[in-house]
Amino acid sequence: MFPFKKRRSALVGFVPGDTWVHMLDPRTKLFAIVVICLATLAVTSPSLMAVPFLFVILLTLVSHLGRHLLRALAAFSPLLAVILILDLFFAAVEPGTLYASVNFGFFTLDFYSGRLLFALAMGLRLLSIAAISLLFIMTTDYSAFVRSLKAMHVPDSISFSLGYALRSTTTMWKDAHHIADSQRSRGLEFDRSVLTKNRNRLMALTVPVAVSVLNRSGKVSESMLSRGYGYSERPTYHNTPEFSMYDAILILSLCNMLMVEYICIIYSG
């Protein structure tokens, strides 16, 4: 069946909650994304790569979003698989020991220890970056995100555009749901097997969703203008974002993680 028949939450979108990850200042979460990216990009060893990866897992567990995150990551699994296969057999690294060799007649696939470790490291890197980014989307309310960007003196037009992009991850999914529900209610089969066989049916969903998203963005901008967007040069905030103790703890933990990794890099030469 179509994957969203049983449950109705968005694949990638804000999931309301009251965990302390949800309550973190969006700026802290943005900082976490930057640090995790740095920590994974700075190293190529799987053991060092595991540190930021475990950190992301810890955040996921605390946010109670493990199931949601796995579901979203599953959607990216084909891309991850392609990258892993390319790294496993064609990465330009020291190949190391030959573990096994499989002959397919015209070409041979060799499994080298060095490439295997490299593929593992790349897998962890991609998973860490994807997971922390998804965690940001799933725990950050659109309005809080815009407020925190404005508090950083990001221009209004950029704050609202980025915020709207974040919100669209949820609304686009919901629009797709509504339209697909309506089409199936009028006799259109939407089983996955039918979709892969008949691209027209996929287009029957894609085009109205695209039109709906475009229409909605136009209407939202009309509403914003009607409600005073751009009226004052210095808009105020109803709830000014404030750093909490949790933000401080997370920032310290992230800095410690970076430091530990840096020390490991130095000691491992």
Binding site: M1, K5, K6, R7, R8, S9, F14, V15, P16, G17, D141, Y142, S143, A144, R147, R167, T170, T171, K174, D175, H178, I179, D181, S182, Q183, R184, S185, R186, G187, L188, E189, F190, D191, V207, P208, V211, S212, N215, R216, K219, V220, S221, E222, S223, M224, L225, S226, R227, G228, Y229, G230, Y231, S232, R234, P235, T236, Y237, H238, N239, T240
Partner: protein, 507 residues
């Protein structure tokens, strides 16, 4: 301009750009109107008569954002819309769109209501005070802090109204504000608008079809037909001239009908057995141990306050939602495991929001969508298409017109047309009368009776009392996800023609 008029419209005409079918729609034609500060004006008229377009002219969306050709002048609070941008009107004119989804821009209720005051640079304490006062006045204090996406249509509509009124605009323009709001919410809104008008001398302009809602507050009525004003005068005279009085616009409360509890009778077409359903992340179930039977030759109305589970129930009838526990039986067979598409051959469902029901390029393709999926021959599709177009008065719109370019009421009728083209033994509709004027509602009610008389089970979830008064055979009341009442109206008798036993087989 008359000195005391806060709105002065002179010879206003507006034509939308040509659609791909080459049709240019003239929405307003030579409209002239003056409205004084503190007036309460109700604008009415058939669907597609230019009411919403007129509203969009009042804060400069036309001509600054909406493409099209405009002539004439609109002067609001001394500012001509040709010379002033929309932002200049934002502290003066609060505009609430017909569809609350077009209005809401933030993620949660507090941020939504705070948006306007924030943009106008209000002090945070003043914003908080404004939010508190507004939500109290509108009876939506319980919605504070909730994500907007989780709210029902009626709840979102009330939040949209709160976000427009929080800035205390001198002019408040509301486009069909009662369409999705329940009985209690409507009464609160009526009181709120009356006190705004009386205490703060706010000029209030309401576009509304539902006479039962506006009868008590319509001091001045303006009627649009084909983009022209055909009536502008006292509300009482308007109602008198159309023979509308308090008894005709205030339908008898259906709880007072001579009614009889539902029991026995022929076999049901759809049965719900101990249905419980919770949306993901929701703390309380949207449906809780619901047991219901729906019968042929019967029009059942599902009523209840916003968020009571009406739409969730409708979505269970053709398998869009699968219950957490319990089962749905269609003609005695469980629906679990069957695709929605296969169930749709028996249960035709019209969901809320016409915008989501329309996805084809032309009206003709929209109407033919379901029959094409069912493999119905072309000539039969043409016959059905002509019949449905005549029944719903959409023939004049042109079969090549893109459905999304139509007015709200026209879109709604095309969406209903798409449903009726399926010719199913069960018709389920969620708020089908949004955007429909009284005449169209009456026509739709007659149409539903006709389907009922041919053996169709008609199930309608709505807040529209006028509509239920026109055609309800049975009322099911819901509250908090449970059935609180289930009874037949009128004489309580259901007339089932001979040969009913063959019904299931023949369909």
């Amino acid at each position: 301009m008359a000195a005391s008029n806060i709105i002065e419209v002179t010879n206003l005409s507006f034509t939308y750009p040509r659609t791909v079918s080459g049709r240019a729609i003239t929405a307003l034609s030579g409209v002239s109107l003056g409205i004084r500060q503190g007036e309460m004006v109700v604008i009415t008229g058939p669907s597609g008569s230019g009411k919403s377009t007129f509203c969009r002219c009042l804060n400069g969306l036309i001509p600054h954002v909406q493409r099209g050709s405009m002539s004439g002048d609109v002067v609001v609070a001394g500012m001509n819309t040709k010379n002033h941008f929309i932002t200049d009107y934002s502290p003066v004119v609060g505009l609430v769109f017909q569809n609350p989804d077009d209005h809401l821009v933030a993620g949660d209720v507090d941020s939504e209501i705070a948006f306007g005051p924030e943009q106008m640079g209000w002090d945070p304490a003043a914003i908080e005070e404004g939010i508190r006062t507004t939500v109290r006045a509108l009876g939506i204090g319980h919605l504070r802090g909730r994500p907007v996406e989780e709210l029902s249509w009626g709840e979102r509509q009330r939040v949209a109204i709160a976000s427009a009124t929080v800035i205390n605009p001198r002019i408040l323009v509301l486009d069909e504000p009662f369409s999705g709001i329940d009985e209690t919410g409507s009464n609160i809104l009526l009181n709120f608008l009356s006190s705004l008008n009386a205490d703060q001398k706010t000029t209030i302009i309401i576009v509304e079809h539902r006479m039962d809602r506006i009868f008590s507050i319509a001091c001045r009525m303006v009627e649009f037909i084909n983009g022209k004003i055909v009536y502008d005068g006292e509300g009482s005279q308007f109602f008198r001239s159309r023979r509308i009085d308090r008894t005709t616009v205030q339908p008898v409360d259906d709880t007072n009908y001579g009614c009889e509890p539902v029991s026995g009778g022929p076999a049901p077409v759809i049965s719900l057995r101990h249905i419980t359903y919770s949306y993901p992340g929701s703390l309380s179930p949207s449906l809780s141990d619901v047991n219901l039977d729906f019968y042929p030759y019967e029009i059942t109305f599902i009523k209840g306050p916003n968020g009571s589970g009406k739409s969730t129930l409708i979505r269970h009838l053709n398998g869009i939602l699968t219950p957490d526990s319990g089962e749905v039986l269609l003609l005695g067979q469980p629906v679990r495991g069957k695709t929605i598409a296969s169930l749709s051959r028996t249960v035709g469902t019209l969901l809320q929001h016409a915008d989501y029901q329309l996805f084809e390029e032309t009206i003709a393709e929209e109407l033919a969508f379901a029959p094409n999926n069912f493999g119905i021959p072309e000539d039969e599709i043409s016959t059905r298409s002509r019949r449905v177009s005549d029944d719903l008065c959409i023939s004049h719109l042109g079969s090549g017109t893109p459905p999304l370019s139509l007015s709200a009421g026209e879109k709604q009728r095309v969406a209903i047309g798409g449903l009726l083209m399926m010719d199913t033994p069960v018709i389920a509709m969620d708020e089908p009368t949004i955007g429909l004027d009284m005449e169209l509602k009456s026509r739709l009610a007659d149409l539903m009776k006709k389907y009922r008389d041919h053996g169709t089970a008609v199930i309608i979830a709505t807040h529209d009392r006028e509509f239920s008064t026109l055609c309800a055979d049975r009322i099911v009341r819901m509250s908090g996800g449970s059935i609180t009442a289930d009874y037949r109206v009128g004489n309580g008798k259901r007339v089932v023609p001979q040969g009913y036993a063959d019904f299931a087989g023949s369909r």
